[in-house]
Symmetry: C2
Subunit: 259 residues, 2 copies
């Protein structure tokens, strides 16, 4: 079985989920580097034989691939500090940042390895179906990244940085912003002594329907029906909360305008 030696910079949500998954696929995690030693130790404790590493000098490391899995705004700083051997591949995992950000590093082989998923330390995910978007500085690096990606997922998509940014923006709309609408819904229910659990079947059916029929055909509710009496009643219900009111108003108006 194909096996790469990999070091990971970062110990956040993505690093915590990706490192064990790569080990399960037969690769070896050599090192975990983090500015937060507690997090790094916690992650290393889940791995077979990795070491905590406290600096970014990999010139003595056995790693073939260095994966930067830090928050987007820390990538540049890491790239500037990292020291590599000439055959090592340096990749970042950002949906938004261009491949060229890694030009700050003195690296001959760079790439992007962006798994499209919402990762949390406390929740396992199946990598099998997760699209992994790849970009590389050269063909040889791309072939290595494709092999690496295929070892954990069936869905590999080579993609340039500008298209990857579109994917990331679309992901924020359909994940982070959606999740915040769930939070608002929960708050409205709790304020009325009701439980968020009541919305479970509705939420599950909403996404099943949207994925099965497409979001345009799946739309229901007062806005798409142009039921202005209900829309007005809801705006009146929300009138003491300007932010909720405005979120309700602007999206409902866009539903009407998109018909």
């Amino acid at each position: 079985m194909l096996s790469y030696k990999i070091s990971i910079i970062g110990s956040g949500n993505l690093a915590t989920r990706l490192a064990p998954e790569l080990e399960n696929a037969g690769h070896r995690i050599v090192e975990v580097c983090s500015r937060n030693p507690t997090n790094a130790k916690a992650l290393v404790s889940r791995l077979y034989n990795a070491n905590v590493k406290y600096d970014y000098d990999f010139t003595q490391s056995a790693a073939e691939i260095i994966i930067i899995a830090v928050s987007d705004d820390a990538i540049e700083e890491v790239a500037k500090e990292v020291a590599l051997n000439e055959n090592m591949i340096l990749v970042h995992t950002s949906g938004t940042r261009p491949l060229e950000l890694l030009n700050y590093a003195a690296a001959d082989h760079t790439g992007v390895f962006y798994p499209l998923q919402t990762f949390s330390k406390t929740k396992r995910v199946e990598f099998d179906e997760i699209p992994i978007f790849l970009e590389a500085s050269d063909g040889k690096t791309m072939r290595v990244l494709e092999k690496l990606a295929r070892s954990i997922s069936k869905k590999i998509v080579p993609l340039k940085s500008d298209q990857r940014k579109a994917v990331h923006v679309a992901a924020v709309f359909s994940c982070n912003l959606v999740n915040h609408l769930f939070r608002i819904a929960e708050e409205i229910l709790v304020e009325n002594n009701l439980s968020f659990d009541l919305l479970g079947p509705l939420i599950v059916e909403t996404i099943n329907k949207s994925l099965a029929l497409g979001p345009e055909a799946a739309q229901t509710g007062p806005a798409v029906r142009e039921d202005y009496e209900t829309l007005d009643a809801h705006m009146d219900f929300l009138k003491d909360n300007p932010v909720r009111s405005e979120i309700y108003r602007i999206i409902s108006q866009d539903i009407i305008d998109s018909k």
Copy 2:
């Protein structure tokens, strides 16, 4: 088995899903009334022995329960026109409209029977787990509605009109508004020659995580990380579309402000 004779006014998404479900639970649909005879005939053709009815005079009808399943803004008109016998129960199915709207009808027994789900004619749903919110003019009517609701769902919630409105507003946030964010995400991907299918695993995990951990703990992404560089990059990406920009901005700001 308990069995009621029921007539349904309306032939839209809810009526189309509810009528066969009630028949499967052992009740008899006597009549389907609709201002749209084509839709009414289509629904009747799915039922065992129902007739299309072209007026709202039920004084000669065998129905014990009349369910108004029309759009919210048509309920008042129906209530004003309907003619009933004294033992008949008249209910509407709206999340937003008060029970008292049925006072326009000369009915001794009125109620609300509100199943919290997104219904489409083209997609089956399981009623078993759907919360059904009930309200009634009197105890006897409530007991009938509870029996009716329990025959199709395990989740029965008696609820006053003002709390039911809160449920409906929360449902719009977590269903219709969420679905529109999926539509925006789809449009962004299609504009960049990518498929909405790529978001499937992310969307499924987003809702699984939100329902398992609660939306607050489940949140990820640039806003909750206060990654202003990514937020700025996304706003720049969206700058030619003021509506998408504003939706992204106001929800992201609320994610930050809710921390």
